[in-house]
Symmetry: C2
């Protein structure tokens, strides 16, 4: 499994990804899923991947080596794209190119052509944007109303995002809440695991402010997990016990 | 969707179920999913249902009207079963009976034979037990290590159970944590909704201590939701912001 979350707040972009891959529960490995493309002062782009690893790696290879532009014959890469929208379209083209090569063969061998990406960043002259790109190559974008997107094992970590993140959230708090969301996911799904890659980019900075790997045992993250556990424990203990007594019964009652 | 959770602690049994059913998002209705079979002083049994409503209702009908016992010719119902294990087997037989009647036809019409049940309770002379019964009619039971079982939309509400419930949890606290788990689920999945049915039965009491429907706006539950939200907000605000600065980068970096 995988868990990646991207949060787009007023101050900028936060992206977080775990690193665990598994081919069955008896084949666990660590692969980077958060990839940064940076020309400081000009553009920052971040790609997070989930799904079949052979597919996502092939997509990344196409984005680096380039895909031939059918009109000009030039090789398009993420670095040659003039806008984030065009870049998201290029990622869609890369996915469709891999599907054309590998899709049928995967399906013939009981594999699934299964890939999803988060793609965030900003190119000078354009806005900061954050997209989620599906295996069909189509994509959606965050809005002010829903400022985050998730791929992979998204359910365990969604409640805290729904409660604690909105467009006006401080970017440091957005990172913190994203890390709590990752913690909730890791506790419930062993297929999501440390280390965790994080990326923070402020709007109009065109560079990473934080591009860091949190390793197991890293003190801040360990402390965050402990504090969050302790606070949840205190929170439910502080709520009074239910006052209910027996009331009306269900349809099968024989009373 | 549905969310039901059963928790088996030292002091007894807690079962909680929502009441929302949907056939597509444009067809929402309220159906009771938590059903109590009680002979005070003799036996208490609780069935929670999820999955295809026509299947779960047919199963309940068989359990009330009886299924012919192939050996004796007598009609077996939940009230005639001598033990919780035998009763869980009867529910499995009821599911298989419905499958024999409706399974193929459902599949021919793009439906799924999809049902899961929680079954908890105690019969005089036996232990209190809590089972989860699958659509194949097989079942598993809680243990001291994992004292809860969920059916339906289980992921959103699982983290708080993992953190806050164990076999020695006070039964009132188990109900409280179960209600928090239901709240987290309802906030993230509109297919799970009020009212909520709750059942509490103490070990060796052979009757319901609480058998209650929580209606929308009910003061305690409203207060629980507000307090939990406020506590989560306070909890993440109290955690210091991350101290990270830019470190090593990903494979696609062009730095």
């Amino acid at each position: 499994m995988t868990y990646c979350v991207g949060i787009s707040v007023r101050e900028g972009l936060v992206m977080i990804a775990d690193t665990r891959t598994n081919a069955g529960i008896d084949n666990i490995a660590t692969f980077r899923k958060l990839h940064v493309i940076e020309e400081p002062g000009e553009r920052i782009m971040v790609v997070c991947t989930s799904g079949n690893l052979s597919v996502s790696q092939a997509v990344l290879n196409y984005l680096q080596e380039g895909i031939e532009n059918p009109d000009t014959g030039a090789l398009d890469t993420l670095l040659t794209m003039p806008s984030m929208f065009k870049a998201a379209q290029l990622i869609g083209r890369a996915i469709r190119t891999v599907y054309a090569t590998d899709g049928r063969s995967l399906e013939e061998h009981n594999g699934r052509f299964d890939v999803a990406l988060l793609f965030g960043g900003q190119i000078k002259g354009g806005k900061m944007r954050l997209f989620m790109i599906y295996s069909a190559g189509n994509f959606i974008e965050v809005t002010v109303d829903t400022p985050y997107l998730q791929i992979g094992e998204h359910k365990y970590g969604k409640p805290i995002l729904d409660r604690a993140v909105n467009y006006n959230t401080d970017i440091g708090d957005a990172l913190k809440v994203g890390l709590i969301s990752m913690d909730s996911t890791m506790r419930s799904n062993l297929g999501v695991g440390m280390p965790i890659d994080i990326l923070v980019a402020r709007r109009d900075a065109f560079k990473a402010e934080i591009n860091h790997r949190i390793e197991p045992g890293e003190p801040y993250y360990h402390d965050l997990r402990e504090r969050w556990s302790a606070a949840l424990r205190a929170a439910h203990i502080a709520i009074p016990r239910p006052p209910y007594a027996t009331g009306k019964s269900g349809v099968l009652d024989v009373e």
